[in-house]
Amino acid sequence: MPAVSKGDGMRGLAVFISDIRNCKSKEAEIKRINKELANIRSKFKGDKALDGYSKKKYVCKLLFIFLLGHDIDFGHMEAVNLLSSNKYTEKQIGYLFISVLVNSNSELIRLINNAIKNDLSSRNPTFMCLALHCIANVGSREMAEAFAGEIPRILVAGDTMDSVKQSAALCLLRLYKASPDLVLMGEWTSRVVHLLNDQHMGVVTAAISLITCLSSKNPDEFKTCVSLAVSRLSRIVSSASTDLQDYTYYFVPAPWLSCKLLRLLQCYPPPEDGAVKGRLVECLETILNKAQEPPKSKKVQHSNAKNAILFEAISLIIHYDSEPNLLVRACNQLGQFLQHRETNLRYLALESMCTLASSEFSHEAVKTHIETVINALKTERDVSVRQRAADLLYAMCDRSNAKQIVAEMLSYLETADYSIREEMVLKVAILAEKYAVDYSWYVDTILNLIRIAGDYVSEEVWYRVIQIVINRDDVQGYAAKTVFEALQAPACHENMVKVGGYILGEFGNLIAGDPRSSPLVQFNLLHSKFHLCSVPTRALLLSAYIKFINLFPETKATIQEVLRSDSQIRNSDVELQQRAVEYLKLSSIASTDVLATVLEEMPPFPERESSILAKLKKKKGPGAVSVELEDGKERGELNGGGDRGGDAAIAASNASTPSPSADLLGLRSAAPVSGAAPSAGSLLVDVFSEAGPAASSAGVNDDGFLSALHAPEASDSPLVEGPGDSDSAPPSAASEDPAPPLPESDELLNKFVCKNNGVLFENQLLQIGIKSEYRQNLGRMYLFYGNKTSVQFVSFSTTVSCPGELQSQLNVQTKTVEPLVEGGAQVQQVINIECLTDFIDAPLLNIKFRYGGALQNISLKLPVTINKFFQPTEMAAADFFQRWKQLSQPQQEAQKIFKASHGMDTEVLKAKLLGLGTALLENVDPNPENYVCAGVIQTKAQQVGCLLRLEPNAQAQPGEQMYRLTLRSSKDTVSQRVCDLLAEQF
């Protein structure tokens, strides 16, 4: 080694680096590096000892090569050797290499730790600093394990140099962040806090970073730091700019330290001690005052430092949120910044104002800047600033300025950046909903929103508008009108079509009076958009069409035509095809009142948290906390006002949003849901409570349903033999005997002669829905027990019994139900019925449960009648009359003449006769007004053929109208029973 070059300059290294820099290509560079590596390897071979200088030089070269991106797999040992050198430069290079290159699981770590320990205890401040820097730079868990105990001691030791204290504080901070569990402060806490009083500003600055971090984790232990911090702050703030010498930055005294102090104070609530608090308020006021002073320097560093302190002070003021005076002053100060030349300042001002707006003291003050903010939204060049402006507008919005802000945001939306559009849309939607005074304004706003930025309107937004329209009768007409007008635009966004389809489907009738929006016009308008839409929208439109059929019978033919077209009924999409087929059938089979029940207007949605708000929260993540807080406040206020309790409750419930297609009609879902009733109970009950014979639901799933009929019988689940078990069960108390059947249960029975589904019973506590299926001599009945209260029913039990001779005629099996029915819940019970021979009576259902301690006992007749086992038989006129004549014996015939209790509507009559289970034979009776039916009653023992003839005298006056009903069957009891049953129906 040339002796002249010893010292800090390493000529070999300089030459090597310049060689590399001069390489003309990557290949040349790699060659040069390979050569150098081989050289270093030969030097490190170990057979000759290297002096410290060469070692340093080669380690340096290796480091350089590593930083160029090449792998280094040797030289670690030499670097570790350098650590034990006494020369600063050699030690420094050794530490540098180790902090860059040594990974934590290296075997060398023990040696390294040893060297570091030596340096830490060396009392040489530079060596100690080097060691501390190395620990901090590596910052691994192993390092923390080895030194976490040592460093606090150095930090608080009285004889430690200031520079070492600084390093120790920062090193400890690093270790604490890396592995907080290993750094235990315990006994050191108070002494660390007292570092705030240190003479040396550098030590204070370093210590305060550590304290801030520690106190945010366990604030109580460090509580004493508040008063110390306040006094330190006041000393800095009140000092003249020249007092602090080295720590004055462009005429601002210790700006970093001030900021850190203010940030530390933000970890704590306002100080309780009056003196401390007064001092702090004084400090903050001084800072605010200083912001008003003319700048002492034109340099940007001066104003940056000053503003940094100011913004930190404002954050503290907002954090305390208890000094109205300060808050308003802060707000005014920020207001000045809103029009500042500096983009960064404007950004920060808007951001701070966002938080200020949520404070009750400064909300009004913030509102005075609305014009400036709106202006910023429109004219600002920087997108991030515009985003902040939008945030602030959202934050400062309340009832008084909602219309203005929403209008501004809407108009801005047309030109807004794509990146923030979706968020803007959500905000507009939320504001519109939250501050809507009249709902027509809300509907207008949302429809505008969809028109302007349809692509960014998420599903939640339009779900919400529909929820609100459905739940408020007063806007429905207006909504229908507006939607209709909006749809007339040649190019509509798909979301608009969705909203339009849904609302017109529900409330199209409200605007049908106007010839410009007559039913057909409405339909044509919707259908003109149909082909441009995606599958889910088309599905929704199909549902709207079927609703049209219900609303406007005159459109039935047109719509059926549309449904029948190949593009619908043979659509390649299964969902669309199924809807088309089902709706077509439904519209052609069901009578008008069936349709009317099935296609009933949607029931109001349960109030739930606004889905949009949830979405915005999700989008914003934890950053939205302030907005949420503010929402909470608003709500509280509104609740106090009391006029919008409904909407305030929106946030209370957490029900999930059901899928829109299920919501729309409740129809499609009815059939599948019945199998899994408890989960979707409320929906089902809603359908049944209208007592509509949900014929379609049975029709749709006929096959699948019945094919599963035998399954439960095969299963080994406990079945209750109806008659026997109910008797043998020892009644524990007299009161638990089955109650006598309700007086109206016979009426109930009659209600179900011609239909299989509906609500069997309802009182304040309980609702029982029923749904049944029959095939041949077998039947299955589903009973849905709905708890209408919010309290659970205990020891809930049901039994089915067959009184008297019915026991031998009917075989009834039930499954037991859960003894607990939760409030609002629904349980389901399956009953299997087998008809052994013809019967007259109906089985009894007894329900017992305890509600709030009181025993409830209800007995009902199950609507199982002989006609349920009818199989329809189609036959020609000749056949019919031949059989009619064969059954001419007097006991085979039963005849009744009775008054019509309902009108003589043909369709209704037909529906009832079909519901009876027989086949309605057309063109058999010479008199077209007469009805002729045929069917076979299937029992296990025998089959009973049955013919029926119903002759109305339609010409008579209403009220005088009479029927003559004649029944002929091969068994006299059957004739009589069916005749009795049927006579009650007309």
Binding site: K24, S25, K26, K31, R32, N34, K35, L37, A38, N39, R41, S42, F44, K45, D73, F74, H76, S106, E107
Partner: protein, 445 residues
């Protein structure tokens, strides 16, 4: 079609920029520099797509040639053109280097104007170009000559002008082959192929019609016995003598391409190669064979790891051709591990040296006769590292030059007919030379 052509030096500075079409903007120059030349990771694909623009590049030493297009062009065509352009430039000013390009940039622009027109490649035959693009200023040409240029450039035989006269009609034929091999340590051939070129340099008067014959298996089989008499008539067909192949009669050519002067229709029909050669040098054909390759050298490696810090390597090479022939420029490259800290080499013949910059021992032998063997042994000291990765043992590679064709190709005849002038085939002096070089000739160890 090609939209533009750029030439860069190794730093990415543009030396030549020629844009042919408007769809290529100025920023294309920078796009290539930023994304390819200065790319963080070395770009290995010769075609790069940047913002719907395709860049095709080739690299000659430190010079990048890049063709740019926005259209969907035939990539093979573009590369063919780039290679042709390299040939043209080499023919004009020698090695392609930054210095040469800077000194000749007027000439290069002139050439670019000529060989590429609106992005469509034009006549890039060096001989033809040299007649009207000269390095020493424009010669004053007579009207006659000027009109001849037009007819020549646009005519059927664009590569040769009429009226060439030589006192001595001479013809040189070089068969240049490079043999590629990958062999297992046990001596099993894993893959081997020969790619060869037939280069012709002709000084012939008039418009001579030439016919070239070689021992192509298809031709030989077709001719059968009848071919023998023709071969005898060809006289000088066996000029260069055979290599070590011995009695191999014919070779199977896997695929071949020809210079544009060869009549392909005739080759397709009768597999005879007939053409009117361009004046001066041209590459008559290129071919590739994979069967029955004569491997001129066999490398037998022996590597022994002695503990963690030592490696013993012994390599024997055997020459496998006629003892009368001499191989030249033999170089064996033995890779060393990455943690080599010292090397001792002993070799019987030639010189061996450890080249740290290449992580290899390079053993050079000037000359070696056939059927001989030589060996080298080296002791490699290793520095123990904490890296658990095992040394990948890259293959030992070899370079050499032998005076025969490893594929076994032989020139049977090259006949010259010039009906208009009064010289016959016998008057033409013909020379044939065979050179076999190593391509990637590797043996695993």
């Amino acid at each position: 079609m090609i939209g533009g052509l750029f030439i860069y030096n190794h730093k990415g500075e543009v030396l030549i920029s020629r844009v042919y079409r408007d769809d290529i903007g100025r920023n294309a120059v920078d796009a290539f520099r930023v994304n390819v030349i200065h790319a963080r990771q070395q770009v290995r694909s010769p075609v790069t797509n940047i913002a719907r623009t395709s860049f095709f590049h080739v690299k000659r030493s430190n010079i990048w040639l890049a063709a740019v297009t926005k259209q969907n062009v035939n990539a093979a065509m573009v590369f063919e053109f780039l290679y042709k352009m390299c040939d043209v430039m080499t023919a004009y000013f020698g090695k392609i280097s930054e210095e040469n390009i800077k000194n000749n940039f007027v000439l290069i622009y002139e050439l670019l104007d000529e060989i590429l027109d609106f992005g469509y490649p034009q006549n890039s035959e060096t001989g033809a170009l040299k007649t009207f693009i000269t390095q020493t200023g424009i010669k004053s040409q007579s009207k006659e000559e000027q009109s001849q240029i037009t007819s020549q450039v646009t005519g059927q035989i664009g590569w040769r002008r009429e009226g060439i006269k030589y006192r001595r009609n001479e013809l040189f034929l070089d068969v240049l082959e490079s043999v590629n091999l990958l062999m297992s340590p046990q001596g099993q051939v894993l893959s081997a192929h020969v790619s060869g070129r037939v280069v012709m340099k002709s000084y012939l008067s008039g418009m001579p019609e030439c016919k070239f014959g070689m021992n192509d298996k298809i031709v030989i089989d077709k001719q059968g016995k009848g071919g023998a008499s023709e071969e005898a008539a060809a006289g000088k067909s066996d000029l260069g003598g055979s290599g070590g192949g011995g009695g191999k009669q014919s070779i199977a050519i896997d695929d071949c391409t020809f210079h544009q002067c060869v009549r392909l229709s005739k080759f397709d029909a009768e597999r005879s190669i007939s053409f009117i050669p361009p004046d001066g040098e041209c590459e008559l054909m290129r071919y590739r064979t994979t069967k029955d390759i004569i491997l001129p050298f066999r490398v037998i490696p022996l590597v022994r790891e002695v503990g963690r810090t030592k490696l013993e390597v012994k390599v024997v090479i055997k020459s496998n051709f006629k003892p009368s022939l001499l191989a030249q420029k033999i170089e064996v490259r033995i890779p060393t591990p990455l943690n080599t800290s010292g090397v001792q080499v002993i070799c019987m013949k030639g010189k061996a040296k450890y080249k740290a910059s290449e992580n290899a021992i390079v053993w050079k032998i000037k000359r070696m006769a056939g059927m001989k063997e030589s060996q080298i042994s080296a002791e490699i000291e290793l520095l123990p590292t904490n890296d658990k990765k095992k040394w990948a043992r890259p293959p030992i590679s070899m370079n050499f030059e032998v005076p025969f064709a490893p594929s076994g190709l032989k020139v049977r005849y090259l006949k010259v007919f010039e009906p208009k002038l009064n010289y016959s085939d016998h008057d033409v002096i013909k020379w044939v030379r065979y050179i076999g070089r190593s391509g990637i000739y590797e043996t695993r160890c």
